[in-house]
Amino acid sequence: MTGLTSSQTIGPFPHEGWRWAFDATQAMRPSGAALTVEGTIYDGAGQPIDDAVLEAWAPDSAARERDQPMPAFRRVASGARGEFRFDLTAPVVRGNGEPALYVTVFARGLVTHQFTAVVLEDDAGLAHSAILQQVPEARRATLIARKKALDRYEWNVWMQGGQETVFFDYT
């Protein structure tokens, strides 16, 4: 086994180098049913993080976004109030408790990227969600996006604190 290369923060200045993917995300125009997941990223003092970058990956959307600039992938920078928004193609199969998107979080002061995932509150299969069942019950809510309107969900990221988001180390 070879020695793993360590991780480092993105720092405060990734935006120009990562802009091509912000732009491609903006240019996505999914033709099918749409779904929005939006929220705010907070630090341990409850302050919004205005220089985070979040990537969302929805492998099931790859086929349906084949004609789009960047199928199945989104990259967004958090705004001045820590806000972010993902506009997605709605999953074909709903109600199986699978994540609607897999999210990777990056920020200044975050020395290793963090993996997490989002399931939808009104997913009929939530009780059988394979990923939620691996999470202690008291922390599951951090992965569940709350329904705000038709196909519009709120999901916040907390880096620390009582509602610290569950971050994954995939096996």
Partner: protein, 235 residues
């Protein structure tokens, strides 16, 4: 595809940085306090995001060729091989790089360091590894710059790397440092990695073989992403 029946090994203690490393102030409220939860998800070993080839242009690998003229500073070539922990090459995989210029200034609206911008250098690029996991790009050697974390806080010269790997769980963002820099031992970001070998894994090597005549000096920087096949079943 390969590696479907085994698991990603846990990262050994100290190899990844400490999420909260108090000398690096921004980690105090941003580093998760709970350990990452070991979970299994089929998505983790699905093929990573594949950048549409139309978005990767050959010139994206030459950071010195983005302006109307030639940038100031020491031109260098950086090359290396990306493999996983099992020694398998990470092939046709996207790498992004970004950095400051030869005066220590980022092309970024939030960088207020009183060093000059270079109208011929923006400091970012992207490219793919080849079928052997090898990559190469051309750039200008970045400089150290102050960052206000503590008195006389200067970041050692570094190039940021973002790698997508071949499967989703291999995603990595890191920084490549230059050999012989006296700022390494003083830098809280570099030293948030407690394992000595892991810290040194981020220091490139100078290579006279990779230098190109009168044109540029060469550095090599090999990268190891997480692997699965070496992990015993049942861990």
């Amino acid at each position: 595809m390969r590696m479907t029946s085994t698991k990603f090994a846990p990262v050994a203690q100290g190899v990844y940085p400490s999420p909260v490393h108090a000398p690096y102030k921004s980690t105090r409220l941003r580093g998760p306090l709970q350990s990452a939860l070991r979970v299994g998800a089929p998505a983790a070993s699905l093929p990573a995001f594949q950048i549409p080839l139309a978005l990767v242009k050959p010139l994206d690998a030459d950071l010195t060729a983005q302006g109307a003229g030639v940038p100031l500073g020491e031109k260098i070539g950086v090359t290396g091989r990306v493999v996983d922990e099992d020694g398998l090459p990470v092939t046709h995989s996207l790498i992004e790089v970004w950095q400051c210029n030869s005066a220590g200034r980022y092309f970024h609206s939030k960088d207020q360091h009183a060093a000059p911008l270079d109208p011929n250098f923006f400091g970012f690029g992207k490219f793919l590894t080849d079928e052997n996991g090898r990559y190469r790009f051309i750039t200008i050697k970045p400089a150290a710059y102050p960052w206000g974390n503590h008195p006389n806080a200067w970041r050692p010269a570094h190039i940021h790397f973002s790698l997508f790997g071949n499967v989703y769980a291999q995603r990595l963002v890191t920084q490549m440092y230059f050999p012989g820099d006296p700022l390494h031992v003083l830098d809280p970001i570099f030293n948030s990695i407690y394992d000595e070998r892991a810290r040194q894994s981020l220091v490139a090597q100078f290579s006279i073989e990779e230098s190109v005549g009168d044109v540029m000096l060469g550095y090599t920087f090999d990268i190891v992403l997480r692997g699965r096949a070496a992990t015993p079943l049942g861990l």
